[in-house]
Amino acid sequence: MAVHLCIGEVYGFSVFNEPLTRILGITAPTAGADWTIPQVGWIYSIALVMLGLSAAVLGKWVERRGPRCAMLASAACFCGGLLVSALGVAVHQLWLVYLGYGFIGGIGLGLGYIAPVSTLMKWFPDRPGLATGLAIMGFGGGALIGAPLGQELMGFFRSPATTGVAETFLVMAVVYACFMVFGAATVRVPAKGWRPEHAQTQNHVATEARFAVGVDRAWTTPQFWLLWCVLALNVTAGIGILGQASLMCQDMFGVNATVGAGFAGLLSIFNMGGRFLWSSLSDKTGRKAIYCVYFLTGAALYAVLPWTQRTGQHTLFVGVTALIISMYGGGFATIPAYLRDVFGTHQVGAIHGRLITAWSFAALVGPQLVNYLSTARKAAGVPNSEAYHPTLYLMSGVLVIGCICNLLIRPVDVRHHLKEGAVV
């Protein structure tokens, strides 16, 4: 959790967007010299792409070297990336910020994201959903700490000569390095075959995967790509709200920016809580059943959202969106346990790493889709309050397709299973 709470800061990076556009002008952007919002937006996009790519490429290395080494490497990359970014801001070189936070920091995100997942599943062999929920909950909560911490630090360092962004990056690098090293020093891998006391006295064997599929074989199976679609569609739909939460709330209900920001913060809490609660519940219901709940309930709730706007039901709108986002988080947290059910524990971390590319894909496509649709509707003269309705119906349809992909998942053919001697 210490590692995920730190790298989850990337979700709160948007607090730096506006200050980064007035590094030279300090109080207001200097036209032609300061960076623009679209230029700054690429920092977040590069980081997310690198998250997916590094998790996919380095997953096997993480499995081989263990979580401590991977967490230390993650800390070095993530915090080193912040330091390079601080230098980039100080000398006003955008490529250094792309390289630092985007490229190097993004590799740290990927390593840190997958490092604790398989270890925690080994500690909770009878409750893999709880285990992955615990790990990935931290990533959802990272924005809850990172965003206000960034704002507080920028406020502290702000002066007539600086926006305080470079100094904030420096301090965050040091603070996060301490936390991440603490996490790496604390993590332990259980002995092979270890089982908790209560699991030794009860018959939990049936709930544990007793076969293994290697990562190189796993991603050639239809099950892997169906799960890829499940994650990609779940993320695309969730980001439809999460990425536009503040603006959507302002447009649909005519509230001000402060209230919109409060709404976005509230959704982050449900995003975090849903990761733990829904994923833990999946241990009771089974993974396929819980994904059907996410997708079908989500689809119904998305279809209801335009009605809450038309009838002016603020509270119902907040409640429905909060429930949708909790299931979006739940989808993230349950996927490693689903992978373990389908492919076994042996290389689940590496397989999870390759599946994370679905997230990178959806994180790039989802917000663009929502942006494009709502902007086109506004440009066509549709009132702002109704501009999001087709997008919400579209997201409902996306979730129905996700449900179909989920229902198509079957156990992996035994010819893909590793022989017992090959599982070391």
Binding site: M1, A2, L5, G138, G141, L144, I145, A147, P148, L149, F179, F182, T186, R188, C249, Q250, D251, M252, F253, G254, V255, T258, V259, A261, G262, F263, G265, L266, S268, I269, Q309, G312, H314, T315, V318, P383, N384, S385
Partner: protein, 45 residues
């Protein structure tokens, strides 16, 4: 791990998280005040 070390480890991750959650809830409160004070909405044209 000894129970004290486990408790300290949980404290170390829980405290910043609790601070973040509190800050977010405080920022979200105006949303519910609006819900209570306005029975009808005035969306932007």
């Amino acid at each position: 791990m000894k129970p004290l070390r486990v408790a300290l480890a949980w404290l170390l991750v829980s405290l910043p998280l609790a601070w973040g959650v509190t800050r977010s809830v405080q920022k979200a409160l105006p949303l519910f005040q609006i819900s209570h004070t306005h029975s009808t909405t005035t969306p932007k044209p």
